[in-house]
């Protein structure tokens, strides 16, 4: 069945909440309003106000409450409206949630998911457009997912909700309306398993989130020029499927990382370093990074477009590798 990414996210929560009554959701404007993208619409009516709650605009408090509820036996799947707002509760996430079990002992499990809408969306500007995966990759103790399709979003979110570790779950705003095939039957996707979105033999593009689609567009264009591009979507950044990358490189021997976040200290920086440290023998040249410019994302939509990689930029960067 063909569903939107947004529907897939909502369905994942609904199905899990029907399966397990320890799961509850809370966050800003998720109850009557059904979240600003409509993702949780109808959930208040189905599950009641005990399990679907609006919070005040108090990220520190409700992230802290999610943690306290998780350690005492509930399974909260909370929503931070925009991933940008996770920084308001950054210490709660980075220090407390990530480190709690390590610092206090193994019985302190935190089965907790923090979902947020992320990324650029046509003039949302510097404080509502960030891609912050790399910040959370830097905090041992968290799991980080950033799906690119409706199918992956649903399967990964169901897995995240069932997982006993805290998960940062990023949903790209521009992907919400994209449609994809999702089976009627039950499925989950394990964390740490990459998906080859397109097979190829000349170069591997590791792309995440919105950039997966752009990498696929570039691959299509380059195919006509005789360059065969493999597009690898890690789907989760923590844990990261190194073996899938190694396998792909053993075929292509060239690697590129495409991300929407700005380049400095981004996901690409980590992955390029990792490949050069651990997979050097497979590489015929340096790992290339294609990323956003190191600026706050401008309000002007033409400049916003200019700052973020598109298919043409990705294709141009690949041509230079040969």
């Amino acid at each position: 069945m063909l569903v939107t990414f947004a529907q897939a996210v909502g369905d994942a929560m609904r199905e899990e909440m029907r399966r397990d009554d320890r799961i509850l959701i809370f966050g800003e404007d998720i109850a009557e309003f059904g979240n600003i993208f409509g993702i949780t619409r109808g959930m208040l009516e189905e599950f009641g106000s005990k399990r679907v709650r609006n919070t005040p605009i108090s990220e520190m408090a409700f992230i802290g409450a999610a943690m306290g509820a998780a350690e005492t036996g509930l399974r909260p799947c909370v929503e931070l409206m925009y991933s940008d707002f996770s920084l308001v509760a950054f210490a709660e996430i980075y220090h407390c949630i990530a480190k709690w079990r390590y610092m206090h002992g193994p019985e302190y499990k935190l089965p907790l998911v923090i979902r947020s809408a992320m990324g650029s969306s046509f003039g949302a500007t510097g404080e509502h457009s960030n891609c912050l995966e790399s910040l959370y990759m830097h905090s041992p103790g968290l799991l980080v997912a950033s799906p690119s399709t409706a199918y992956d979003a649903k399967g990964l979110l169901k897995e995240a909700i069932r997982n006993d570790n805290p998960v940062m779950f990023f949903e790209h705003k521009q992907l919400y309306k994209t449609k994809g095939e999702v089976p009627e039957e039950e499925y989950t996707i394990p964390f740490g398993v990459a998906d080859i979105k397109r097979e190829g033999s000349d170069v591997t593009i590791i792309a995440i989130g919105l950039m997966v689609g752009r990498a696929l567009e570039a691959a299509e264009a380059l195919a006509k020029e005789g360059i065969s591009v493999e597009v690898l979507d890690p789907r989760t950044l923590v844990p990261f499927d190194k073996e899938a990358v190694r396998k792909s490189l053993s075929k292509t021997h060239r690697a590129m990382v495409v991300e929407e976040s700005n380049k400095t200290s981004g996901v690409g920086a980590e992955l390029a370093a990792m490949m050069q440290e651990e997979m050097y023998d497979e590489l015929d040249g340096p790992v290339v990074r294609v990323a956003a410019l190191d600026v706050p994302l401008p309000y002007n939509i033409e400049l916003e477009k200019y700052a973020i990689p598109d298919a043409e930029q990705i294709a141009a960067a690949i041509r230079k590798m040969f």
Binding site: L24, K50, R53, T55, P56, S58, E59, M60, A61, F62, I63, G64, A65, A66, M67, G68, A69, A70, E71, T72, G73, L74, P76, A91, E92, H95, C96, W100, R101, Y102, M103, H104, G105, P106, E107, Y108, K109, P140, G141, L143, N163, D164, N165
Partner: protein, 320 residues
């Protein structure tokens, strides 16, 4: 209030255990046996003991970085506590967390963050769980006068109030946030209690050097909370006997004032009361000191003899 002898003895014993634990912590740190930093709870014991005298089976607790001894009152063995403090495998986190993280979930302890305040919302979360399951218990969350000015405290108070969560916020006002006197950090005289009104919560200010005064105030507030009327704030005024951390020579305060406050000794007050009422005699008191000290010496010897975790175990407990 009328008290049974048994209740008074229980309070005294808990108070004494906290006092001697906190003293032992200072002495053991001075011997170089504890890594990192410790923050002595000497002077603040009555705030915790008096409040926690209202606890019931099934309640949840978010402790503070002062008065680590509270972990022992709530159930953590001295062996486990000192092992964690001395970074040994036999500690609750195998020595990965340390002195600020002496905690066991089996005793309904929610853990503690050394960021101060980033953990304040945990009690609200535990209270949500109680509400979710229709359980008539409550959660306690302790914080200091310095932490009282942090944003997470205010957000957590508002959330608890708007959701009518069964939470008691307990401000251990020992008058100093590191070196900064409470008057320099808060615009109101009572940084705990005076903020309660903003969130429609009842509050009390208690003499934090008098365990019975603390208990009576805590009792009134916990009765309110347990009746399902929402959260409340208790502020206990006392004075931090030691520096912020061991090694802090406290040049920012007047020694004469410190000495005056140290005369308002919660343990000595209880001893006088028990002796006056002839509930106990001096020999029995001396005996209790000796017994508790012996227990702690044995726990420290156990911790010292325990192995540390190995580098191979460094990643254990990070992920389930």
């Amino acid at each position: 209030m009328e008290y049974s002898n048994e209740f008074l003895m229980k309070l005294y014993e808990e108070l004494l255990r906290c006092r001697l634990f906190e003293k032992k912590l200072v002495d053991t740190y001075a011997l170089g046996k504890i890594p990192g930093h410790i923050h002595s709870g000497l002077g603040g014991e009555a705030c915790y003991v008096g409040t926690l005298a209202t606890r019931q089976q099934g309640d949840y607790f978010k402790n503070s970085h002062r008065c680590i001894a509270v972990a022992n009152l709530l159930g953590v063995s001295l062996e486990t506590a000192f092992s964690e403090i001395m970074a040994k495998r036999t500690g609750n986190a195998g020595g990965r967390g340390g002195v600020n993280h002496v905690s066991q979930l089996k005793y309904n302890m929610l853990g503690f963050s050394a960021t101060l305040a980033c953990d304040i919302g945990l009690a609200g979360g535990a209270a949500m769980r109680l509400q979710y399951d229709g359980i008539d218990n409550m959660a306690y969350t302790f914080y200091g006068d310095g932490t009282a000015n942090r944003g997470p405290v205010h957000e957590a108070m508002n959330l608890a109030a708007v959701w009518k969560l069964p939470v008691l916020f307990v401000c251990d006002n020992n008058q100093f946030g590191i070196s900064t006197h409470v008057s320099q950090g808060s615009s109101v005289p009572n940084p705990g209690a005076d903020r309660a009104g903003a969130y429609g919560m009842p509050s009390e200010v208690a003499d934090g050097t008098d365990v019975l005064a603390v208990y009576e105030a805590a009792k009134r507030l916990t009765d309110h909370i347990r009746a399902g009327k929402g959260p409340a704030v208790l502020e206990c005024k006392n004075y931090r006997w030691r520096g912020h951390f061991e090694g802090d020579q406290t040049p920012y305060r007047d020694k004469a004032v410190t000495e005056e406050w140290m005369k308002k000794d919660s343990v000595a007050k209880m001893e006088k009361l028990l002796l006056d009422k002839k509930i106990i005699d001096q020999a029995a008191i001396d005996n209790m000191y000796q017994q508790i000290d012996d227990e702690m010496e044995r726990a420290i010897a156990f911790a010292e003899a325990s192995p540390a975790i190995t580098p191979e175990e460094i990643y254990d407990n990070l992920y389930v």
